[in-house]
Assembly symmetry: D2
Homo-oligomer: 388 residues x 4
């Protein structure tokens, strides 16, 4: 099956004996609200309850129809029961790691499961978790959604920076990123500065980790170190890409230090009782540097509807490009004064957030030109080959 | 999901980036050609080869497109690898039984897997297998398709008869089948006679098993025993429904006797080298008592096409009603002189047979009004409830 | 627009604001029930009433939904008002001819409008009308549907025969029809004989018109003349194809003679009060030489339903191949003893007949590879070119 | 037919014999590009040429496919030939008026046909034409599209104002517009002022026509007259709604005076050689008072594509709400500093403009709940009733 062909599917055709026609499509697992729920649920009861809360559609009279009304939440929980146990795996250096859950950072909140994080916190002295896709998306949602919901209170933030990305933010074309360019790098540092300032708004101390590549020059690394020093924030050049754990020892020690300092005063960016519009505007202004958000009548009406229906206390899950603080991927550096146009909003009543869409979201990406399945077979010994 | 809504599905909509529009639908597992292949394959290599042979469609130029050309047969075999191991279970009396595979007796050949039968023959002195859906369908396909393909040579046939079914064939209405009616029963015995004569054409000795219900009268049972005696065939009244294995001891001894007599001279009804039309006509005349088969130009052209494409040696897999020897469910008893109209024919190039459709086939039946899923849940101990 | 693309159309997609999804398609004008109604209506009131009677579909509860319930019959009549006036045109020899209406002879009854015929009968001493598509279809429906409904009583029948067609019925391949072949022609005459006998059943005197082509040999023409003489029916060789009206003078005089003889005792083949099944079987036996009709449970149930709903008195409109008296286009000559399988039946409640479908019907044929539209344009004088 | 059901239609279903599947929909006549072309074409040759230029879609390789390549422009012109002759009708006071063409003011340019205007200019001393839908849309497009294309040079503008609309722009709720409210009216006059200033940018003298309703108070009328006087623009209270032509004599005399003064120095707002983006931004800034336009990557890429394909010289046809100078219908009065988000752009290669869509456009509105067709019928005299 070509997965693209599943993007837009009409079922229930062939006459009324076949039920009601429905125009829909398949989403990949990570884009499903079920994945977001799975990652936010605290236990099986909570999982079942959230699955039951999913709003599938609306009656002609405008009343939401939930999974609970279809009485499918019990069976769904049964299907997910075993998957809900977090997986423990080991790194190449034999350290334990929990791998569990993977919601899209675009249409969902982009963090691993609350269950895994909670277990990690019970088992280890220090737990590191990832919140990727740009700190304006990944970190913002980790704080405002996952930490808020799961009652987590992080002690420190590692802000990962690469020299190539900073040069790109400084205006260098993709094909020229290999060459040393300290001037452009310095121009791009205003992007890093914005991220540092943004993270400060959550009250958690920050360390910048320079994820160093072999091509990066010492002058470039020095420029970042200098900049951060002037800014009162520690930056550490890390070489784990080349040297493994050994290359990140300095960083680890710094993180331990930050954690043990008890300097963190974690707070979310907005309170539950702000209006949905105001929450969105707050993220746009405080994190994106925007002047305001704009939306047409239909979107405004939907905000009002969700509040009327009792979803007003939900946090906002922003879906925008990861290439710019603005919604225009070409606006580099640290733009300000721009407007954030909202295309549509979607309710995730089981995940308990409102998705605010500021651009096109692809929930069923295309497979590679040669499907992985082409290489998979059972060999003469009856073993399956070609999975990796 | 309402399964009826899956009967007719259009995918690939939404523009050319989403691939090619395809109007298709889901079939339940047992109606898939993959299930038929699974049950006819002799080993994993054969399974892979047959999966590769499936014809998915035709190019604009009329050339068949196979799974092999999509290079998906390896991955499909990998998915089926573990399922291909037959399951051994036990009966309520702790006897071993192999449960493996379940192709529809309508669109497919209706027997369990060749793998299970072959294993059974290696493990036990006597192996009993089922071929249901009326002996004109079940037994005919077991002999002409499964035995032909797997090189099996059965020693005896148990023809199961119920008194209610024979009275129905004798003209009694469904709601009156409870009352004793020896006259109607005798009228219905010409249906049993036809089945006995049909089975004789395969050269295998037959014993009739009367699957006795508590409501059946002694006079009715006696009428069958008498009829069969006059016919030179043993009939045995069995009470396993009420008494378990004990109630079928006589039958079992008779079967052993028939098997040990080496009286079987098994032969299929038609040879591989007959034309597809002639094979179909042979089944219709010899098994159904029909005068001939009829088909419009389009169907005749398709027969010719399949022969041209090299599928002429395949056996025929008939799809017709199980309520009558004819294609008209109201024609009871042992009709003759009728015509068998062929609606369409389908190629199963992986299963290696041609499906000849003589009526409507439903490959995605409707679920019950209350889905089984409604009762399934995870209870407070974390156990799944409501599966049965 | 490629007209083929209109065969299968799904409308009402895009959500509930756009109404109800409907899977349907376009039919060409001549295949529409409206055309059949238009040709059977006696006046504007009758037209409006019949349009109102069209059954568009059924409610979930199984009740028919008519055009009248949608209150669209008035507007439809308004649209057809001017078209309902028959057109008078002239032939190349300046004789008047009424051209009005053209229902398909397959899914409909194949004759021009009752309005035109009625006007013709008021204006002229002799009115000739056409009922093409083989006398087993065209003439049968003209008599059983149009004459029955309009109270027409024809005085004579001209049965048009071509030598090529008769040789084809005698077994000559299409590409060999050019060569003289009196033997094959004589073999084919049993087809002509069947048509003559069939027409006799309607009580109207027949004359055979040999529509002579330049390639036809005298010996072939003589063979037909001889055959018909032995049969007591006049046959006349006509050359109007080459000579215009002059070439059909003998035929015209014969027709006048037959009409003035008052020999006709017109009767339909079946009465209104026969069951729909029996009417169909009568046509199959009496006209097609069949032994019987066959139909599965679903079709039989639909016959019963239409009778229950009050449509039992309607005549039957057969839809079958015009190449054979049977439903198999390869069964040439005058086959008998065959069975007529009925695929489906359709209600034309406005036209007031039941369509009995015995094969595939194409109600939207494909345009030629080069659309006629390609040649149409407005020239420099503002005149439209390329219409013919 | 429910017209809503035609909004989204999938054709070409049913297999490859039925052509290629196409997901499209019907538009009402006035929303069709053909209507826009029809109204901009100067003669039949130009009409044919423009129809041929319509871009129907793109090949897989990205090349535009035109009507000309399908060779359909000749036939389309033939269909439109008679319709292309302007209709002359008379008003209730027996003055001649040309009624010809009606393109939507949203997706198209909203003015009647160039053919009618040109004929009018040949026949009369003074020609009045309408360009409705708010002067920011109607007048802007009349000047920038129709006048530019047809070489028209208007002598005067009548800016029609109603007191209710001005009170609404001043913040009065719809249900309170009936009551006198001079304060709100005065607040709303900044909307009128913006329109007056905008029209001045086209170099044509303006007179304000107060389209007076019986409910309007003298104080309200006086407020407008005062305001305009202070502004150096004449305003005239008209009562043609109540008094017919008599009520607009003052206005007519003023218009004649303005025309005869030769004060007009008509110019379009932007030149052909500006980029499409810059043209759009010019309209947004100069007419809407916006700070800038914004658009995502996809829209920007399409602007670039159209320029690359040679459509860069086309004027812009804006599609936005008529309720506000901005794209937000709630922003009343004379907003400034706002951003205009562009949702999508569309090419009208036959009409020779680029449609810039700043909101939802409905090209197939819903019919009234009771279709007009319900009242239409042919009466007993054969006359059609119920059309109006």
């Amino acid at each position: 099956m070509n997965d693209r062909a599943l993007r837009t599917v009409t079922s229930g055709l062939g006459g009324f004996h076949n039920g009601v026609v429905r125009e829909a499509g398949f989403d990949i697992t990570v884009a499903s609200e079920i994945m977001a729920i799975f990652c936010l649920a605290t236990d099986l009861k909570d999982l079942e309850n959230r699955l039951g809360n999913i709003v599938l559609g609306y009656t002609r009279g405008g009343q939401p129809v939930t999974v609970r009304e279809l009485n499918a939440h019990g069976a769904m929980t049964a299907l997910l029961r075993d998957a809900f146990q977090p997986n423990i795996v080991q790194t190449m250096e034999n350290n334990p790691a929990l791998m569990h859950g993977g919601p899209f950072a675009n249409i969902a909140h982009g963090c691993n499961s609350v269950a895994a994080t909670t277990i990690g916190l019970k088992l280890a002295d220090y737990v590191v978790t990832e919140a990727g896709f740009g700190a304006d998306l990944g970190a913002e949602k980790f704080f405002n959604i996952k930490c808020r919901k799961a009652g987590l209170s992080p002690d420190a933030v590692v802000l990962v920076a690469t020299i190539k990305a900073l040069k790109m933010q400084g205006g260098v074309a993709k094909e020229d990123l290999g060459a040393e360019d300290v001037t452009a790098l310095k121009a791009g540092l205003k992007n890093l500065e914005r991220h540092i300032r943004n993270l400060g708004k959550f009250g958690v101390p920050v360390v910048v980790a320079i994820n160093r590549y072999t091509a990066d020059s010492d002058a470039e690394v020095a420029a970042i170190l200098d900049f951060c020093k002037g800014f009162g924030v520690r930056a550490i050049s890390c070489t784990h890409w080349a040297d493994g754990g050994e290359g990140a020892v300095d960083l680890a020690e710094c993180v331990v230090e930050l954690c043990d300092s008890n300097a963190a005063q974690f707070r979310t960016l907005y309170s539950d009782d702000m209006s949905l519009w105001e929450k969105t505007a707050t993220i746009a202004r405080e994190i994106y540097g925007a002047e305001d958000i704009i939306a047409d009548k239909k979107v405004r009406a939907q905000f009002a509807r969700y509040e009327r229906e009792g979803y007003g206390s939900y946090p906002i899950c922003m879906a925008k490009t990861q290439y710019s603080f603005s919604t225009d991927p070409n606006l580099l550096g640290a733009p300000s004064g721009h407007h954030v146009p909202i295309r549509e909003i979607r309710l995730a009543a089981g995940a308990e957030f409102i998705v605010v869409v500021c651009g096109a979201i692809m929930t069923m990406p295309g497979l590679p030109r040669v499907p992985a399945a082409n290489a998979i077979r059972v060999n003469d010994e009856g073993r399956i080959e070609g999975l990796f």
